[in-house]
Symmetry: C2
Subunit: 548 residues, 2 copies
């Protein structure tokens, strides 16, 4: 099927575009295979390119001789097009809908995006297990590289190259994989250099109603911790969910079979409940009524902030085990691809200053989300405006980003990147010109030659022109764990994201720009380095004191 | 009665002081006539001076041989003292309570505060009607000074020197005063230089159930507006309240008797309802439960943000009449000393760039709150922790400050002062070393020689050392009206005030300090003035565009 067959009308004149906070503009609308292009014919031409993949819902309202199309985007933006001619209007709407229904991976825009200024090879090695192992080698020689998953046969959602404990041979891993849902055997997520404790992640063990055992799985976890050490399994499900999982063949580690491993539980919501929470929240944010009680009650009712709080709480629990109790932790829920990753990745941002740098955070996303097999395609097909029946959609990743924003707010000097990076990652996960967030796991990306045929988002973010947009001017490396307050009063709705089509945010941006301009002025850089250093030092000291 | 008779114990050793976010300290507690002084005996002595007037509630818990006193302060801070010896504990508590019960004005601390580095004469002329008239003279010659209230006989809550329309003679004012509750005849609050429209404020007319009339009052309002002009009376009460007021002898202007004056209504809450709202809000902020739903529901239930929204809404309504409809407005409720002042003063911050400077804002407080007769003493005797039966307490002024903070958040470059000034004003209104906020009106302050015997807060705020603490580094004079968004999503709880005994705020302060240090560095000042100017200019332009 050629795209051109789907496009019933490729160009319409005299369309009026309504966007938030700017005056309506009259111009020409063009539809291409992957974009809507609106351009005003007037002087000082205004052009708007909209990736069709970014459209979450198309709503049309027809009058006798005209029509209105409302485009609700996955990034929460709402555009309105007033079109002369009912038929034109219908043709535009159905063209967009037809293009949106094309879900074949290799027809996605990243496979067609060919910027001349970028090199397609760059950015795809943002994280490599070999390099990670080399870095680990400064602290421990307990790990090795394994290629058992090179054809994705042991675990379809794990990458092909893996870091595994040296003391465990590939046969044990294979057996353990067979005993874990989707083959996700316990895998190293994080090594805490300060005390050698580790975070592992996996899927649930398939113990089922008859309490099946797997000596190799037990042995694997037994080898990870010394015989006199204590360790924890954090299950991210409720007791009821675990009971239901048992009936279906799943379950959780029994403390009698996994000695030294104590069980912790922190029930996190997932899937449909999170998606509905997002839908309710965005609906509340767009509510035009001026009723304060109604807004606060809708905000409460969406439960969004409760989810943020719960995830932060679980991540703190893991960080506490590692840092304060000096114990290793295994985290899992059912499949180990959603709540598990929220918790393990957030715990690393809390614990590890390396994850709080611009590059380190990208590596974290690459390692703990992309290579770890979070099914981005399934989760991000639809966003908050879709009326479609929910399938596998869930704002799992967005919630993680929101938690990072809360950390950023509470520790404004401790993260090298700023809010804009988090917003960009959210947007890119839902609709992108880059291949990074395509498909559901490494296997699918490999089979579709994503690395060979698309550009990497990281290459773009790290390019000279983009990179500086994401830098926090107040950053000062903080070697300590940043323990967030998870009191409800300490958590806030992420206005910069959820209200960013709002004038308010524009004013805030002005201040942000002012700060950046001041700090980045060359003069300052060349003459003030010492004072700036001292300033950061003193800030850092305070944070250290407070984080103790 | 001598203070010393009230103090049963003046010094206690081995007291342990608990403050928010710092480790407990052991030391000595001393009680003087107006202060609690805690000092640790250790090296690097830590001293805490607490104005006894700042204490809102004293709670004691006694054990066999010791006791705990919790001091809940009017500025929302909570301190705890662990004391060895039950009797010592009881003595301290009863001494504090006895000192707190001293409510005679001339026994207040401002009458004893004698800093050597300050001049008692300074700061008391922050606002003078004569100077105001001189400034008005550049734009209009329609006003004159009147001394009819020189002995406060015409209106006890108006100042002795008044600016009145030239075309109205003193006899008319006297008659109008007799027709208005408490003698508060329509008085010039603001002259909008752009179009010559004005805001007046008054108390309700005493029309009563029989619709009494006063030709002079009607004439006064008739003279203010031309015969072909339209003007508005904004009543800040609900229709029901107005009906009740009529029965009691009050009421509102009838449109038949006050031609050209159209009636507007915007019901604002006052008195006990506001005080209870503050109590509920502060209780919610201190809630230690980790339940997000509970917090959001308590926040909603306190209605605080609804009150903020309503006041902003009413102020925007007045500003709109003046700026967009080019009509003068008279604002009143019943007494004209509470909601009236919230609305008229906030409308001026919205409309007038002069009120958005550090000095201009002080003049506004002096003119529209202090000289306008807001009964600070009655309203601020108790704060959010008092268990005492509520009398006349109400956070009227705090709500105004909160509205200013919302403006500051939405227009971060348009106000010359920062959040710290608003917090300081709140604290000083409730407990102060200065005489500025003492008593309920100019008459009481005059009778008690406040200007002669106490220091002015303004003198302190404008002193070289203090002044810079209140400056917004991003300020850039914005000549336009700043129209705030009053959508509930645009309003936020003032964390910097209500959570300031919270570590969160401390981190934010670090960033604020960093910004200030960067901007204030001498080098920057001397070399970067031009660029800084350009930057501000571009910021300003954006704000102007947005505020249009």
């Amino acid at each position: 099927m050629e795209f051109s067959e789907l496009i019933k009308v490729s160009k319409v004149e005299d369309v009026v575009l309504y966007r938030p906070f700017v005056a309506p503009v009259k111009g020409t609308l063009c539809i291409s295979s992957h974009h809507l292009l609106f351009s005003s014919g007037t002087e000082g031409t205004m052009e708007l390119w909209l990736l069709i993949r970014n459209i979450d819902a198309v709503e049309k309202r027809l009058m006798a001789s005209s029509g209105t199309i409302t485009l609700k985007c996955k990034d929460f933006k709402i555009l309105q097009l007033d079109i002369t001619g009912m038929e034109e209007c219908l043709n535009i709407a159905s063209s967009i809908e037809a293009l949106l229904s094309q879900n074949s991976l290799d027809m996605m825009y990243p496979f067609f995006f060919r910027p001349t200024y970028m090199n397609m090879l760059e950015g795809w090695d943002q994280y490599s297990p070999e390099r990670e192992l080399a870095m680990l080698a400064d602290h421990t020689d307990a790990f090795r590289i394994s290629y058992i998953n090179k054809d994705f046969a042991v675990c379809f959602s794990y990458p092909s190259v893996l870091i595994v404990p040296k003391s465990i041979d590939d046969e044990v891993l294979k057996k353990s994989a067979k005993f874990r849902q989707g083959g996700r055997f316990p895998y190293l997520s994080y090594y805490h250099k300060k005390n050698g404790k580790m975070i592992f992640r996996s899927s649930q063990p398939l113990i089922g109603p008859n309490v099946r055992r797997c000596k190799e799985d037990e042995g694997l976890l037994g080898t990870i911790v010394g015989s006199d050490e204590r360790a924890y399994v954090l299950d991210t499900r409720s007791s009821q969910s675990i009971q239901q999982a048992k009936v279906m063949g799943g379950g959780t580690e029994s403390t009698s079979n996994y000695r030294n491993w104590k069980r912790l539980q922190k029930a996190l919501e997932r899937g449909r409940i999170l998606q509905e929470s997002l839908i309710k929240l965005v609906e509340a944010c767009n509510d035009q009524s001026h009723n304060m009680d109604r807004w606060l009650s809708k905000l409460e009712n969406s439960k969004w902030l409760s989810h943020v709080q719960s995830i932060l709480n679980a991540a703190c629990m893991v960080a506490q085990c590692v840092e304060r109790e000096e114990a290793s932790v295994l985290v899992h829920g059912s499949e180990g691809t959603d709540t598990t990753l929220q918790v393990t990745s957030l715990a690393q941002v809390i614990l590890d200053p390396d994850c709080r740098t611009l590059m380190g955070f990208q590596s974290l996303i690459e390692r703990e989300w992309l290579q770890a097999g979070h099914p981005f395609q399934a989760r991000c097909t639809r966003s908050a405006y879709s009326h479609a029946k929910l399938k596998q959609e869930a704002p799992t990743f967005l919630l993680f980003l929101d938690c990072c924003w809360q950390l950023m707010r509470q520790f404004p000097c401790s993260l090298e990147f700023n809010e804009q990076l988090l917003i960009t990652l959210f947007e890119q996960a839902y609709a992108s010109s880059f291949g990074t967030f395509l498909a559901n796991n490494e296997k699918e990306r490999f089979n579709n030659n994503v690395k060979e045929k698309t550009h990497s988002l990281w290459s773009w973010i790290n390019s000279q022109s983009e990179h500086k947009r994401y830098i926090n001017p107040f950053y000062s490396r903080n070697l300590f764990t940043i323990w967030p307050s998870i009191q409800p009063q300490s958590l806030q709705l992420w206005q910069g994201l959820f209200f960013r089509w709002n004038s308010l945010t524009q004013h805030k941006n002005e201040v942000w720009n002012a700060i950046n301009n001041i700090i980045n002025c060359e003069f300052w850089h060349s003459h003030k380095d010492k004072e700036r250093h001292d300033l950061h030092l003193s800030l850092n000291t305070t944070e250290e004191q407070l984080s103790k």
